[in-house]
Amino acid sequence: MGRQDDRKSVTRREVLKLAGTAAAFCTSFGFLHGSQTGGVVQDKHFGEYKHLQARWQQAEIKWYKGSELLHSSPFPATVMKQLQSDETAVVELKLFRAGQLFKNLGTLEAKH
């Protein structure tokens, strides 16, 4: 009795559904093991990524005062040349205060 019947009681499809549902909820809600994040992914500050890989064709750095654009600067030609040769370039964003590293906002590994 029992044992053979028990073995038939769970199918791989059910286990796949369990895994698929867990994966879907993990992403949909930002759940990690035991922790939860809401409202972060879309608006996440770049610094929280620490290392972000991305592919883009144009890049610029903008400085704002509130919502007022103070200055906009494209990436230097040497960097863009590197990217256009289908190589990657890593951008580091670091803040300094009194000559000392104050905060490392992370890196962006980019490809054209």
Binding site: R7, R12, F25, D43
Partner: protein, 224 residues
């Protein structure tokens, strides 16, 4: 990010089924809302948000973000102002007042409830010791998930638009659950979400009971 309860709410505002919503307005297997090519939200029109009455938690929270740690302790933080955002945000008042003004309470309750179910799923998977060993159904496949999107001919096979799980499609999963239980499908969104949570809990209860015989016998998991 978009939970199944949020997809249900937005689909009701738009007057379409959750299956249609998943097929038309989500990416990453029904887990994130689709953006336009320039990154703009697909629901942002010149007149404003097209799903505002049922906008998801992430939108209600902004400019706040919420995290909970493994002990369930909740924290809120303020994001840096987005230069393109026309919303006015000040620092007067409290987080509590802001959350109340945005109608967030039920969304937090639902999020916590789905979180409890998620932790149960992880617990089951942990005991099965299969995490990372099963290729969960993805964009290209699954019989189990292929139903979602079936109301949108031509969209259902596009990569990333087939949900990972049929539970993401509340309309379809509740219709099946209610038919099996002899219940009327709830018309109200809040009632539908409550029943959706109950249906998943019962599914996990049943699965846990049947998996009980497998814990000490991994071979007990059988293919169909």
């Amino acid at each position: 990010m978009a939970g199944p309860h949020e997809i249900l709410g937005m689909s009701r505002v738009l007057g379409i089924s959750t299956a249609d919503f998943l097929a038309r307005y989500t990416d990453n297997s029904g887990t994130t809302l689709r953006s336009e090519g320039d990154g703009r939200c697909a629901f942002l029109a010149t007149s404003g948000c097209q799903v505002h009455p049922r906008r998801p938690l992430v939108c209600r929270l902004y400019p706040l973000g919420r995290t909970t740690n493994e002990r369930g302790e909740e924290r809120f933080a303020v994001f840096p102002a987005q230069p393109d955002c026309e919303a006015e945000a000040g620092r007067d008042g409290t987080v509590e007042i802001f959350l109340e003004s945005q109608g967030i309470a039920p969304y937090l309750v639902w999020s916590r409830s789905y979180g409890e179910l998620y932790r149960r799923m992880i617990g089951l998977l942990d005991r099965l010791d299969i995490q990372g060993q099963i290729n969960a159904p993805g964009a290209d496949a699954p019989a189990e998930t292929a139903r979602a999107g079936s109301e949108s001919p031509g969209l259902e096979q596009e990569p990333g638009r087939v949900p990972l799980s049929s539970w993401q499609d509340i309309d379809t999963s509740l219709a099946e659950y209610c038919a099996a239980k002899g219940l009327a499908v709830p018309a109200e969104i809040d009632e539908a979400i409550a029943l959706h949570l109950r249906a998943i809990k019962e599914w996990l209860d049943d699965l846990a009971a049947r998996l009980g015989s497998v814990w000490d016998d991994p071979e007990g998991v059988q293919g169909e």
